[in-house]
C-alpha cells in the first residue's frame, strides 16, 4: 500500500516537472570569474597546451580530424567548455578524462594561451546559397530565428563570454556541433539558446552554415 503511494508520488512529481534537472552549466560569468579567466597565465598555458596540440594543432595533418581548432578562440569560451567537461555539463569521452586532471587555474592558463594564437587559415568555401547568407544576416522571423551575425559577429568573430568564434573553424566540427545541439546530445547552452535556434534549422541549412563559417577569415 505504502509502496503504491510512493510510486504514485514519483509519477506525479515527474509529470509535474518537479524533479529538478541539472543546470546546463555550473559556470556563471560573475565579475570574479571573468577576472580570473582574464588573468590566466599564457606562458604557463603554453606548456600545458603541448599536450593538447597533438590533436588540436592547426597543422595539415590535423585538418581532416574531428577535433576542433582552438587557436584564436575566446578565452572565456574555452574556459567554460573545459569547466563543463569536468563538471559533466558537456560530454565527450576524451575531453571529460583530460579535464578531470585540470585545475581551474590550468583551464584559465590554457585558455589564455589559445586565445592569443592567430586563427588557423580559413578553408574558402565556394559560393554558399543566398538563403544561407540571409539566415546569417537577417535570420528568419517565421521560425523565430535571429540572424547568426547578431551574436557571432558579422565576420564570425564571436562575442564576449560564451559566444564562440566561428570563423575558420573546421566545417565538419561546426556541422557536428550544430547537429549535437539539435539532437540535445549537447546541452551546455544557458537557457537552451543555441538548441532552440538549431532545432529550427534543417540538416542541409546546418551543413551550409558550417561551410560558410569555415570559409570566413578574420
Amino acid at each position: 500500500m505504502k509502496k503504491g503511494y510512493v510510486f504514485a508520488w514519483i509519477v506525479l512529481v515527474a509529470a509535474n516537472g518537479q524533479i529538478s534537472a541539472e543546470p546546463s552549466t555550473q559556470v556563471a560569468w560573475t565579475p570574479e570569474t571573468l577576472r580570473f579567466v582574464k588573468n590566466g597565465d599564457a606562458e604557463r598555458g603554453k606548456e600545458l597546451a603541448q599536450a593538447c596540440e597533438a590533436c588540436h594543432a592547426a597543422t595539415p595533418e590535423n585538418a581532416e580530424s574531428e577535433f576542433p581548432y582552438l587557436q584564436g578562440q575566446s578565452a572565456t569560451y574555452l574556459y567554460k567548455q573545459l569547466h563543463d567537461y569536468k563538471s559533466g555539463s558537456r560530454s565527450n569521452e576524451i575531453m571529460v578524462g583530460i579535464s578531470a586532471g585540470l585545475s581551474d587555474q590550468d583551464m584559465a592558463d590554457v585558455s589564455a594561451w589559445y586565445s592569443r594564437q592567430p586563427l588557423p587559415p580559413a578553408k574558402k568555401a565556394d559560393e554558399v546559397p543566398d538563403t544561407i547568407r540571409k539566415l546569417v544576416d537577417r535570420g528568419d522571423g517565421t521560425r523565430i530565428v535571429a540572424p547568426c551575425a547578431v551574436c557571432h559577429g558579422s565576420a564570425g568573430q564571436g562575442q564576449t563570454m560564451d559566444t564562440p568564434v566561428l570563423a575558420a573553424q573546421k566545417a565538419a566540427y561546426l556541422e557536428q556541433t550544430m547537429l549535437a545541439y539539435k539532437s540535445e546530445a549537447r546541452r551546455n547552452d544557458i537557457y537552451r539558446r543555441m538548441r532552440l535556434i538549431v532545432q529550427q534549422l534543417n540538416d542541409e541549412e546546418i551543413r551550409q552554415l558550417a561551410r560558410y563559417y569555415a570559409g570566413l577569415e578574420r
Partner: protein
C-alpha cells in the same frame, strides 16, 4: 561658428524643455520617492541559471493553488525563455521576469502587459488577458544588434479549454 539667431533661440527652447523634464524626473524620484516598479527585488543576473527561481527547469507557466497563474520568464539576448507559452483568458496572471544580461523591455501589444526588465532586479507584473488569441511578446528596450528579433509567442486560450488545476501541487504546463 555662425548660428542663425532664430536657430539659436530654438536651441535654448529645446534645452529648457529638456531641463524641465529632468527636473520633473529628479523631483519625483527624490522628493516624492517614485521609482520604476521593478526596483524592489534584487537577483544576480550572471548566475540566474543557478538560482532557485529562474533555474532552467523552473521557467514557464505554473497554476497556483488558488487558481491564479504564475509565469516565470527569463529575458536574454535575444529572446524570452521559454519561447512559447499558453495562458488562459480571464484569469489573473502574475509574470516574474529577470534578465540574464542587459536591459530589456517586455510588452504584449493590445494588452496592458508591459514592464522594463532591469538586470539585477526581478520585474513583477500582474494582469488579466480578456481575449483569447495569439500574441507576440516583444522586447521594447534596445538591447543589441538582435533586438528586433527578440520576441516570443503567447497563446491565450478560452478559460473553458484551460485544464482545471489539481488541488495542491502547482502544475507546470
Amino acid at each position: 561658428m555662425h548660428i542663425h539667431p532664430l536657430e539659436r533661440r530654438w536651441i535654448y527652447v529645446v534645452l529648457a524643455v529638456i531641463g524641465i523634464f529632468l527636473l520633473a524626473i529628479f523631483y519625483t524620484a527624490i522628493a516624492r520617492n517614485i521609482h520604476p516598479p521593478s526596483h524592489i527585488e534584487t537577483i544576480d543576473s550572471a548566475s540566474l541559471h543557478l538560482s532557485e527561481e529562474f533555474a532552467e527547469d523552473k521557467l514557464g507557466v505554473w497554476t497556483q493553488p488558488d487558481g491564479t497563474i504564475k509565469v516565470t520568464l527569463v529575458a536574454a539576448r535575444y529572446g524570452f525563455y521559454p519561447r512559447e507559452i499558453q495562458l488562459p483568458a480571464g484569469t489573473q496572471v502574475t509574470f516574474r521576469i529577470a534578465s540574464a544580461d542587459v536591459l530589456h523591455g517586455i510588452h504584449i501589444p493590445m494588452t496592458n502587459m508591459g514592464t522594463m526588465v532591469v538586470p539585477g532586479y526581478v520585474s513583477e507584473i500582474t494582469t488579466t488577458f480578456p481575449k483569447p488569441g495569439e500574441y507576440p511578446m516583444l522586447c521594447n528596450e534596445y538591447c543589441g544588434l538582435g533586438h528586433d528579433h527578440m520576441w516570443s509567442k503567447v497563446t491565450v486560450v478560452a478559460k473553458e479549454s484551460w485544464p482545471a488545476a489539481p488541488n495542491a501541487q502547482p502544475v507546470r504546463r
